[in-house]
Point group: C2
Chain length 459, copies 2
């Protein structure tokens, strides 16, 4: 409905002045994330500076029935920011203040637009870090909204664990604080966790209090090649079952290594690899590493190639983090289609091996990377979203993969969220649960104005 | 309304036969928990054996507008099981089957009536344990419903972290599975966490999938006396800030030690103490202990008194766990009134010291114990609930304590929940949040049949 929100846009302009953008370039920039999902431009983009401004914006939008779409850095994977139902994109990038850091409590409170790298830069001198690491330099608000995790989750948990409290603006503009800063609480329903992972469909996350961690005395990273994917996965499973508190344990199959070598100029052998990291005191890191080395040897792994100084470690993890771009670069003008299943670790080997067999039937390269310590892995083909035949093939591969994961007791999404693309799978995974989700969505956002068309459909 | 539920009770009797009890002794047993809250008997007590029976019970109750009150072991602290609005107590003790244990995934699925000791007994041979430890041998369902934690939470988290998935019966009898068994998931709203801590007011938790942990290679416990409470607390704060993954770090002040010595026959010096436990490999436990010993020495702590063999450790923690009974035994025919504030750890010393000053103005003994690694502590006087003057004094002490905690950025309840006693404090702590909680309660239980009068009031 172009033009339908003329009055709303005028009111928003009065509120925000030049921080309400309607130019087509800005709208197009806010029409998509990093995924293959078809872009859809919002009618306008707001750049609020404070929670109270977000509240004012919500009041205007509610009055005019204008959908509200929170936007972080646009680095998500499920089309969650795309304005599939039109409306106002609310870009949080100017809300990038670190409001407080309490080193005695090892926590901090930030505005939603603060990015994880900005935060870690700020924290470094105080000997603390924020561990959640989805690869991209995402905003903390976006990470909370999608319940992000990434490479460190096996040790430090996901955004579910990292967040102490939120300040959220509801559809009607009401400002809600979800919790105190206490480390634990039994004070009523867990509103914090309700908003984490709600993908902007229940409210707009404006401020976040986060648990931080002490930068470990020692950090060592290593790379280990395996003759087979089974060998790598079995090493992971045994490491987890031994209770080794490994900080990172990432699988890259041979196709993924190939993409990384080409994009990042590395020269890893064309074999499945584990990328590992150990955190602790010097002695404890050495002990953890020796346990895992032994497990790797038993599973025909290579010698560990160590990266103990900061520079080498940064290069190693940069290569891992650039994998999404590396995958995309394997084909000109491609978008990436990232699957995201997560299964109980006992099912991981079989699920990945069956998936590899399935990949052999596909006409394109489909590299696999995985946060395998959590049972989470991504198959990441580079696709042309406008090639219908190809998208049909990929869709049907994706459906088979998700059904494989669901029948193994897993989930259709370990960390990317439902967005627009996985609503049908969510209903398969949690059929009765989806009804409860819809009831909650309807109760908290009766006009379906908060990021409509994502996660669940109501009305 | 005695007699109001005659038809409902007849239908329940048809469904359950002898597993529907209306005798006054059984009803009275289900009228209260371990707290001072006034008992209130239900009209009847159901003993279901399966989730589908619970579902049938809910359908009957909903048809007749009969309140439903889930009952675990009756060991809670906020009167959450008391039938303050009448209705049917649903005793889960016959639902005590361990449905599955998957050692490769280090998880299990149990019925709600399984107790934590029963579960740990079952798991021991498989080298795993379930760490959440509220002291009492509570049921896993009750622990999930109250978001329980206890002595191990500083290392292993609370029920929020321990639960992978729930099966819940809603007010209308619908059976809802909240999640898969995957270690992490971004599949829609976090229904699991919504029910954890909802105290039976949103649904009846019937089955629980739990994360388990490997029994550590080495476990060492120690006791350390301090000349002052400050010295003990500062040792705790520094331990946490150093990032030492201590498994337990419990404060008992001199009054608490006195009660323990009398009840358990121990002979600890009449001084504040820390009870500590370290988990890990032999080398890692030794390293952790040496770090904490050094911190204790700097804070004028005594030599560590070690308990490394299982028998000594069990005795040590039994004495700690029996503290609630020890506190009650300080006075004939008393009930205990347990406060439960939790504050950011930077505020802990001041909050406890101000509370100690406040205690000096009180006419009764008020021992303090605390899960101080989390910032959570309990002041636990033995009271006579029928002595109005005394209860007024205690209430006003409690109000001062909670206001102290709230102004320190803390919460009125770290682990006991809201129940009937803390609804007003919840509204002070999270004024806008309570409105959201009421909206959710109203949406999921429109007739207010699920444990009415607890956590939030609607209608």
């Amino acid at each position: 409905m172009p033009g339908a929100f003329t009055v709303a846009i005028q009111e928003l302009q009065e509120l925000l002045g030049e921080r309400l953008e309607t130019s087509s370039s800005v709208r197009q920039h806010h029409a998509h994330d990093e995924s293959f999902h078809l872009p859809a431009s919002p009618e306008a983009v707001a750049f609020p500076k404070s929670t109270s401004e977000v509240s004012e914006i919500a009041r205007i939008c509610m009055r005019h029935h204008m959908p509200m779409l929170p936007f972080g850095t646009g680095t998500a994977m499920e089309g969650g920011v795309n304005a599939s139902h039109g409306g106002l994109s609310i870009d949080m990038s100017l809300m990038n203040n670190i409001l407080s850091v309490t080193s005695e409590d090892m926590d901090c409170t930030v505005q939603a637009g603060v990015t994880r790298k900005q935060l870690n830069e700020h924290l470094r001198d105080q000997g603390m870090f924020f561990p959640i690491d989805p690869g991209a330099d995402a905003s903390v608000g976006g990470m909370a909204a999608t319940r992000a995790s990434g490479t460190n989750a096996v040790r430090y948990g996901t955004m579910r664990d990292a967040v102490l409290a939120l300040t959220v603006v509801m559809a009607d503009g009401k400002i809600v604080k979800t919790s105190s800063r206490a480390r634990k609480s039994a004070a009523g329903y867990d509103l914090t966790r309700l908003f984490i992972g709600s993908e902007g469909t229940l409210g707009i996350i404006c401020e976040i209090s986060l648990r931080l961690h002490a930068i470990p005395e020692a950090i060592s990273a290593a790379v280990c090649a395996f003759g087979s994917v089974e060998g790598a996965i079995n090493t992971v499973i045994e490491t987890i079952q031994m209770g080794v508190p490994i900080a990172r344990i990432e699988l890259l199959d041979a196709a993924a290594i190939n993409a990384v070598n080409q994009y990042s100029g590395t020269d890893y052998p064309f074999l499945p690899h584990l990328f590992l990291e150990f955190h602790g005191t010097q002695a404890w890191v050495a002990e953890q590493a020796s346990i895992v080395k032994e497990l790797a040897v038993e599973n025909q792994g290579s010698e560990f190639q160590w990266a103990s100084n900061t520079e080498d470690r940064t290069a190693l993890w940069q290569a891992r983090h650039d994998f999404a771009y590396a995958a995309r670069a394997t084909r000109p003008n491609a978008r990436i289609f990232s699957t995201d299943v997560c299964v109980p670790i006992s099912q991981l080997a079989q699920c990945i091996l069956e998936t590899i067999t399935d990949i052999k039937s596909m006409p394109m390269s489909m590299p696999i990377v995985g946060h395998v310590g959590d049972g989470n892995f991504h198959v990441v083909p580079a696709v042309d979203p406008e090639n219908e035949a190809e998208m049909l093939l990929i869709d049907s591969f994706h459906t088979r993969l998700i059904h494989r994961a669901l029948s193994a007791g897993g989930t259709c999404t370990g960390e990317h969220g439902i967005g627009q693309g996985k609503k049908a799978f969510l209903a398969e995974e949690l059929p009765a649960g989806v009804d409860i989700m819809k009831t909650i969505k309807h109760a908290l956002d009766p006009d379906n104005l908060m990021n409509p068309g994502k996660v669940v459909d109501i009305n």
